[in-house]
Symmetry: C2
DNA sequence: TCATCTATTGACCATTTGGTCAGAAGGTGG
DNA sequence: CCACCTTCTGACCAAATGGTCAATAGATGA
């Protein structure tokens, strides 16, 4: 299984280049940005730092606002206000609203696909599935906005993400399905459909981010709490492992 | 368990009244609309029919457009074009874009909550859960747009649906959790968290509507096919029943 | 038929919003 | 210190859009 082409480092580089194309930056800046110059200068700030800091600040704020209001519902002014920068400055760093949105998408897709390759054929599904569920729920808890933007994007036909889904994600998906199939072949689990099992894992774990509002209302909370996520992990792990006939030794 | 107040008939009436308040209609029309006058007159169309037909036409089209583009992304013009009516006419029937959206929401919430009360304490979870999963997946297949609008609404904090979630849905949810708890008490299934089991059922079945684009790409299809939904039912039913320790006799 | 109510619609408007631009301010390297 | 980048920003603008309105056409019921 050639997974070399999908090493984190390699993927990061690809995503970085992709992102650069959505940002408005000079060639010099595009180059210097790859240097890891994270100095928090106090007096005279370096141009390199200014660009880095502001870009990241804008991306952070944009993720928040996009997740709350969706692409169309988000105004550049809203992002500008939240980032405490003038609107024109946002458009100086990112050529357009669409460019900013795509940059946010590319950033978060990285996190979204991150844990799938942790499942390998040599692991026992007991640990592999458990770890995957834990990772996904943790991500729902710690990066709910990323999950929500992703969900909204897919919900509306993935106009900006189609390519990514058809390429990298699909390949990773098929690799992971292969892993599951190998577990089945080894009689480590029942012969279930790997594809639909993945759908079930994704949806049930992501719902703790995407539908948090609904869940917390139904559980009579202001927001989901640590214990709720743990119960989610517990329930999903139990049902999936036992339901797939994975020995719980 | 007093479920009388939640009979379909009663709930329909409540939803009908709620919907009337979002529409622009005269008192006379509001009354006459309750009469079931579905005549497809050929010569001189009755006012009652005109209003009914146009309202329903607009709601149907609006559901489609809202699901594709979201609330903010939808323009009244787009709905007007799709419904082949002038924009001003849409606003004659529904006072505002928000009013139309709420009317669509109220309509679809009905379908969304519909099947939960089919699970009762006297049934065995084997049949009850299986039927519920079948119903939910069928709904994902036959009314994907309703599901997507609902998902997008919750995703963005349920600004228009909060009340409905806190009221009717929550009560129904708690009733259903009670049913599951009674199954556990009878040793018909393992002691799992009813709340989180419901979350799992909802998310895994709804994903066949909400994430259809993603699923179909990953399955190398243009769109999900009959067989895919069936495999989904099969996988979810199997995993949930076995995973909850429900005897499959 | 006629007075009255309802339905239809083109023209219009105020606001919002994504995006541009010129010029000022600040950093860089020699 | 200077010539040259890069960054910053207020002022603008054109297009899109939700919503209004007055006038016309059609339906109703006595």
């Amino acid at each position: 299984m050639c997974s070399g082409c999908y090493s984190i480092a390699h993927r990061n580089q690809a995503l970085h280049n992709l992102r650069a194309q959505y940002q408005g930056m000079t060639k010099a800046a595009a180059v210097s940005k790859t240097k890891k110059t994270t100095g928090t200068a106090s007096g005279r700030r370096k141009l390199v730092d200014i660009r880095k800091d502001n870009s990241e600040q804008i991306l952070r704020v944009a993720e928040q606002v996009f997740s709350e209001r969706g692409f169309k519902g988000t105004t550049i002014s809203a992002i500008a206000d939240a980032a405490e920068l003038p609107k024109a400055n946002i458009l100086y760093y990112f050529k357009s609203k669409e460019g900013l949105y795509k940059a946010v998408l590319v950033d978060l897709l990285q996190g979204w696909m991150h844990h799938m390759d942790d499942m390998t054929a040599d692991q026992h599904p007991r640990e592999a599935l458990r770890n995957y569920i834990v990772s996904k729920i943790r991500q729902s808890k710690e990066h709910p906005n990323a999950s929500r933007i992703f969900a909204a994007e897919v919900l509306h036909g993935a106009p900006f993400l189609r390519e990514q889904l058809e390429g990298p994600l699909k390949e990773q998906f098929e690799r992971t399905c292969g892993v599951i199939r190998s577990w089945v072949a080894k009689r480590w689990m029942d012969p279930v459909s790997p594809e639909h099992l993945m759908f079930m894992l994704w949806s049930s774990t992501q719902s703790y981010a995407d539908f948090e509002v609904q869940s917390s209302i139904l559980l009579s909370r202001d927001a989901l709490e640590e214990a709720d996520y743990n119960e989610g992990v517990e329930l999903i792990t139990r049902v999936v492992l036992k339901g797939c006939g994975v020995s719980l030794v």
